[in-house]
């Protein structure tokens, strides 16, 4: 209770002091009007379908990012999602058992979730039994469902032992049995476990490459006395060429010998060796497929061998005779899946030719290909190749079976294809790993563009001609306005909102007057580029280049949409992480998604590109060329023309490079045409390693040069655009010896402007650097809390040179003010709001680890916050210093939504000075907008137009009536 009081008192204190100054909370009816969230999962690892007979069909997936999700198979929407802890994200096994979902993580956590609600039923930590818990790794798992008893057995093979968990419907606590293996297993590729539901057995296959295959059979109820059979197979290299068939027969194919071997598992004796040639198979077998169900009891006696150019041979084994049933040619098969339901067994062949994916079906029992059961779908352009197919087969009334399939492609897209030849839905899971995002203005409408075009050619045309052009352009604007009104009248939409956002009333992908509607370009880790409509989050265009996967991707906007008729252009630079491949350079039109590959120009680059930046000024075509610096300090330009080289030599540019791996910071001059000169370099002490560095945003707009103080004097900001901040962490991470080292450096001259050391502090750090201030978060290792350090740099009461800034001028050292605050939540990223002219005060945006996007005015991080606030401080708008930064839910930009796994925050200005657009990327994608100083330039949403109109009309009417009444009264008086 005592706590409760403290808590509420704290809340009251916080709100009493700041609620009036926060002022920026959302209204409840604003939900979903301008913000949207995309719930994503990440690259799919495992997928299973709902095995129950219920009507509402769901599928379940687990992903690389540790998400377990239930997907509605009709719409592709996520019904529920759970995220596994960061320390244990890898999932080894997923199965759907009755109404539960079994998930086994690689560190030995087995959990059963209620498949309808996603609520945990039970969890078991298998590593508890192990001697060395750190190295406990699950290799395989299987479920043994026995129809006669209530028990379902989950069988898990770890590196050191075999474990079973009995899932019982009557008992709440699962029973665990473990047995240690006699040796530690290496990895998953050489071991496999199967279960036999009929006889209650667990079969463990262990291959020692080129030596022998060991088969261990356990009794499911009593693991202690296994039966072991050793088969010496000097030619068997992998378990992919083995199959367990009915009657305890093991089949394996060896290409070296060119034969199929049949072995009896009971005694390890070879039953038969059949040469492949006798079956008419001349080429080596490339793939063997059989029923791979965990339960051996349902395995039949058929395998499919693929050989030669797409030849698929169905082979039946009866006793010790091997018979070729049928051979059919299906080219480009990537996966063969056996499915069994009741007595029906079918094999599905998934193949892809160009963009067309086809899934052919063969009835294994009869060997007949079933053309009715074939799905041919054309994947949308810019999709990768087929990676994995998950087939869901179900029994049907008229035709024996039907199926649908979940396809996963290399670009991390998931498709659900159904009969007849239809893509039911697709999920773009690549968006869960965005590496860069940009928000760009949309192009003008054609009519507005006409006027813009007039200015473009103003130099060439005559006055009268220009006059007529202007008149005709504005005439056409008027006509289109009337047409719009007429159309609205016809559709009866004149007074309704055109979009869900009350401030965006321009339909389609054209710029609205406030420029709130943007094109979001997302660059993802898997090499997919997306163009996304910021109003709805819909994907407008996408582009996929598989070579971009695994590269460091950088995105530069060279020309915005402001320069009609020149199309907008951006460059995507893909650098090889190992620095051995030449860079990939793509010119992208960010609005249409048209990509031109320029990589051919850089194929002969001898040394790797270490740094790239766009020109600060555009060329004649309003394009900002990109400068790339390679390791030999040669300069490469995109595009490379003599004009641009000439501009470069005039510009007197400097570049810096921070090498995180060896702590070397270098500055270069680009004054000569073809190569850069090293002008300064700095080595960080080898006790520290660089963890973060940040320059100021290029071409940043700063509205005021100084800050007025209470005594009516002005303190001028130190607005050096060349400042970079470098934070490094001590290599020694013991609490008492750990430290953080900050260097603030002028990147042109290499002069150290400021340096600070935080003792007993460590990373991770997140940083924002802008105007004359720097904010970063760090971990206070001693007090075990997050803290935020805030710096401001001032020139002093006199301004040194108001017109031009040069790093080479000798000017007095800036005055540095600094303060630190306690921040009581885990931070995953920090951003800052950005407005058109930079007049609006800034808002610091925090992506909190708990899934919240939180925005706080920057004045809470003003290092001039006084310990005791006086009237003078209040006049300046300074809030009294309090060690802890408040985190009230009112200031959650994401209100009650959970934005999982946030990684970065991107902001962009709108044409409305009050408004900044915010995009948070990570596992989820969240878009919203923020008004740090409230919305001062547009009428409030709840402004009552009707009331104002009624009042005005009423006053007009009242004036008329009173006038008449006054006249009558005066007349009556006059007659008196």
């Amino acid at each position: 209770m005592q706590y409760n009081i403290v808590f509420t008192v704290k809340f009251v204190a916080v709100f009493g002091a700041f609620l009036c100054s926060f002022g920026d909370a959302l209204y409840e009816d604003q939900i979903g009007k301008f913000d949207w969230k995309k719930e994503l999962l990440g690259r799919v690892d495992h997928a299973v379908f709902d095995s129950s007979v219920s009507l509402n069909k769901h599928g379940f997936v687990t992903t690389e990012k540790g998400a377990i999700a239930c997907i509605n198979m009709r719409t592709g929407e996520v019904k529920w999602r759970r995220i596994l802890p960061e320390s244990d994200r890898k999932i080894t096994y997923l199965a759907h058992v009755r109404d539960g979902l079994v998930v086994v993580s690689s560190k030995g956590m087995a959990r059963l979730w209620d498949s309808a609600s996603g609520i945990l039923k039970w969890e078991v930590d298998l590593s508890v039994a192990a001697e060395n818990r750190e190295s406990f790794i699950v290799i395989h798992a299987a479920t043994l469902e026995r129809s006669y008893s209530e028990k379902t057995l989950l069988v898990i093979l770890s590196k050191t032992g075999l474990h079973t968990i009995a899932i019982s419907l009557t008992k709440r606590k699962p029973e665990i049995q473990s047995v240690l293996l006699n040796q530690e297993l290496t990895d998953g590729d050489h071991d496999k476990i199967f279960v036999d539901s009929q006889n209650g057995k667990i079969i463990h296959l262990q291959l020692q490459s080129g030596v022998r295959l060991e088969v261990t059979v356990y009794d499911a109820d009593n693991l202690s006395s296994p039966k072991q059979v050793t088969i010496s197979t000097s030619w068997l290299e992998s378990l992919a060429m083995t199959a367990l068939l009915e009657d305890d027969t093991l089949l394996y194919v060896s290409n070296d010998v060119g034969a199929i071997h049949l072995v009896d598992l009971e005694n390890g004796n070879t039953q038969a060796t059949v040469p492949l040639l006798r079956l008419g198979i001349k080429d080596p077998v490339t793939m063997m497929s059989s029923n791979e169900e965990e339960d051996v009891a349902v395995h039949g006696s058929d395998v499919i061998l693929s050989h030669g150019e797409g030849q698929m041979s169905l082979i039946k084994i009866t006793g010790s005779t091997v018979k070729l049933m049928q051979t059919k040619i299906i080219p480009e098969v990537s996966d063969v899946v056996f499915k069994q339901k009741g007595t029906e067994v079918y094999a599905y062949f998934a193949s892809q030719i160009n963009n067309v994916v086809s899934i052919a079906t063969v009835n294994v029992k009869t060997g007949k290909y079933n053309d009715d059961l074939t799905i041919n779908v054309t994947l949308p352009p810019h999709t990768g190749t087929l990676e994995k197919v998950y087939v869901n087969m179900f029994l049907k009334r008229n035709t024996p079976v039907g199926f649908r399939a979940l396809l996963q492609t290399t670009d991390e897209t998931v498709f659900l294809v159904t009969q007849p030849n239809r893509i039911a839905w697709q999920r773009q899971e690549a968006i869960a790993s965005v590496v860069h995002a940009t928000m760009l203005d949309l192009p003008l409408s054609d009519v507005d563009a006409g006027i813009e075009a007039e200015f473009e050619e103003s130099g060439k045309t005559k006055l009268m001609e220009m006059f007529f052009k202007r008149v005709s352009a504005q005439g056409s604007q008027l006509i289109s306005w009337f047409n719009n009104i007429l159309r609205d009248l016809k559709e009866d939409t004149l007074f309704t909102h055109k979009t869900r956002d009350p401030l965006i009333q321009v339909e389609g992908l054209t710029r609205d007057p406030f420029s709130l509607h943007k094109m979001i370009v997302l660059v993802t880790k898997s090499g997919v580029l997306f163009g996304m409509d910021s109003l709805t989050g819909e994907i407008v265009w996408r582009y996929f280049l598989s070579q971009l996967k695994g590269r460091q991707l950088h995105f530069f906007v060279q020309r915005t949409t402001a320069h009609y008729p020149h199309p907008p252009q951006a460059l995507l630079l893909g650098l090889d992480s190992s620095q051995s491949q030449p860079p990939i350079v793509l010119a992208v039109n960010p609005i249409t998604g048209v990509v031109i590959d320029l990589s051919a120009d850089f194929i002969n680059l001898e040394s790797p590109v270490i740094q790239a930046m766009p020109f600060p000024v555009p060329d004649n075509h309003h394009l900002r060329p990109l400068i790339m610096l390679d390791a030999d300090l040669n300069i490469h330009l995109v595009p490379d023309t003599s004009d641009i080289r000439a501009i470069l030599s005039e510009l007197n540019l400097y570049m810096y490079d921070v090498n995180v791996s060896n702590g070397l910071i270098r500055g270069f001059s680009l004054s000569e045409k073809n190569s850069a000169q090293l002008i300064w370099s700095m080595h960080l002490p080898n006790t520290h390693k660089i963890i973060k560095f940040s320059g100021k945003p290029a071409l940043e707009k700063v509205d005021s040069m100084g800050r007025p103080l209470a005594d009516r004097s002005v303190i001028y900001k130190y607005l050096n655009p060349n400042v970079i901040a470098i934070l490094s962490e001590s290599v020694d991470d013991a609490v008492d010896r750990s430290s953080l080292l900050l260097y603030v450096i002028d990147a042109v001259t290499g002069a150290v402007i400021h340096s600070t050391i935080h003792k007993k502090a460590s990373g991770p750090v997140h940083m924002v650097h802008s105007e004359n201030w720097l904010i970063y978060s760090y971990w206070n290792a001693k007090a075990r809390r997050n803290e935020i350090a805030s710096f401001e740099f001032y020139e002093g009461k006199k301004q040194f040179n108001a017109t031009v800034f040069s790093s080479f001028q000798t000017r007095p050292d800036p005055i540095v003010m600094q303060q630190a605050y306690i921040f009581s939540a885990g931070i995953s990223c920090i951003g800052v709001s950005q407005t058109d002219k930079g007049i609006t005060s800034r808002q610091i945006l925090f992506g909190l680890k708990k899934g919240v996007l939180f925005g706080l005015p920057r004045r809470f991080f003003d290092p001039r916050r006084p310990l005791h606030a006086t009237e003078r401080h209040r006049e300046e708008g300074l809030v009294q210093y309090m060690p802890e930064i408040p985190i009230p839910p009112e200031l959650y930009l994401s209100y009650n939504l959970t934005v999982e796994g946030m990684e970065r925050i991107y902001t962009a200005p709108a044409a409305l000075e009050s408004t900044s657009l915010v995009l948070a990327t990570g596992l989820d994608l969240f878009f919203t907008r923020t008004q740090p100083s409230k919305m001062f330039d547009v009428l409030k949403e709840d402004f009552d137009h009707l009331l104002i109109a009624v009042v005005l009309l009423g006053m007009f009417a009242a004036a008329l009536i009173t006038r008449r009444m006054a006249q009558v009264k005066q007349l009556n008086k006059a007659w008196r």
Partner: protein, 215 residues
């Protein structure tokens, strides 16, 4: 256990290489069960997570030796964060989170009993239209009060008394002479009145006024 002992314990944690993985247990009490599926338990900002069962209980597994913050996150309710200390032997102690003074030990019951402290308030309330609010508006007050003075005060004063009436007329005269403000009603009527009878109306009203005064 006092703070010094705790310090010694911590030094022991970091000196001791052999890690101990423990589990942190507790139970979440929610006023209504429907939010159970949306409620999450995170330890050390999501490095470790606990999942809530139907009865509200949760276990965070594989927590190594150290000190962490456990939070219960719900879209509807606020919970108090708890600091969890896991000793090298795997013993667990729970105490209130105090970021300002980390050394203060205010132990809470373990296994944890997490109860919702308050409803999370994310939104600002829209100002609703109400007569009372409108009356509180200074602009409205400025208009309504003089109206009251003009309309109600004369009624209160006995106007039938000739002396009072004389006094009032006198004061009115003073008021009229002093005011150089344009007559708002007249201005409006001039503005909106039809052109043809405008001059007539004005003259008639003026003459009427002067006549009335002369009386």
């Amino acid at each position: 256990m006092d703070w010094r002992l705790l310090c010694i314990l911590y030094i022991a944690y970091f000196a001791d290489v052999s890690f101990c993985l423990s589990k942190v247990e507790g139970k979440v009490y929610l006023p209504a069960d429907q939010h159970l599926a949306d409620t999450r338990v995170i330890l050390d900002d999501g490095e470790y997570r606990g999942f809530i069962k139907v009865d509200g209980s949760f276990v965070v597994h594989n927590v190594p030796t150290g000190s962490y913050v456990l939070e219960v996150l719900s879209p509807t309710y606020l919970f108090e964060p708890i600091r969890i200390d896991v000793s090298a032997k795997g013993n667990i102690r729970a105490r209130r989170l105090n970021n300002l003074k980390p050394s203060v030990v205010a132990q809470v019951r373990y296994p944890l009993e997490m109860k919702a402290v308050a409803l999370a308030k994310y939104f600002q309330a829209r100002e609703k239209f109400s007569i009372f609010d409108m009356l509180k508006n200074p602009m409205v007050l400025m208009m309504v009060l003089p109206l009251l003075v003009f309309a109600v005060l004369p009624k209160l004063v006995n106007t039938s008394d000739p002396e009072v009436r004389k006094e009032m007329e006198e004061s009115m005269k003073m008021f009229n002479q002093n005011s150089s403000m344009p007559d708002a009603a007249e201005f409006m009527s001039n503005l909106f009145g039809s052109g043809s009878n405008k001059p007539k109306a004005v003259t008639s009203s003026k003459s009427g006024k002067s006549k009335a005064k002369r009386n």
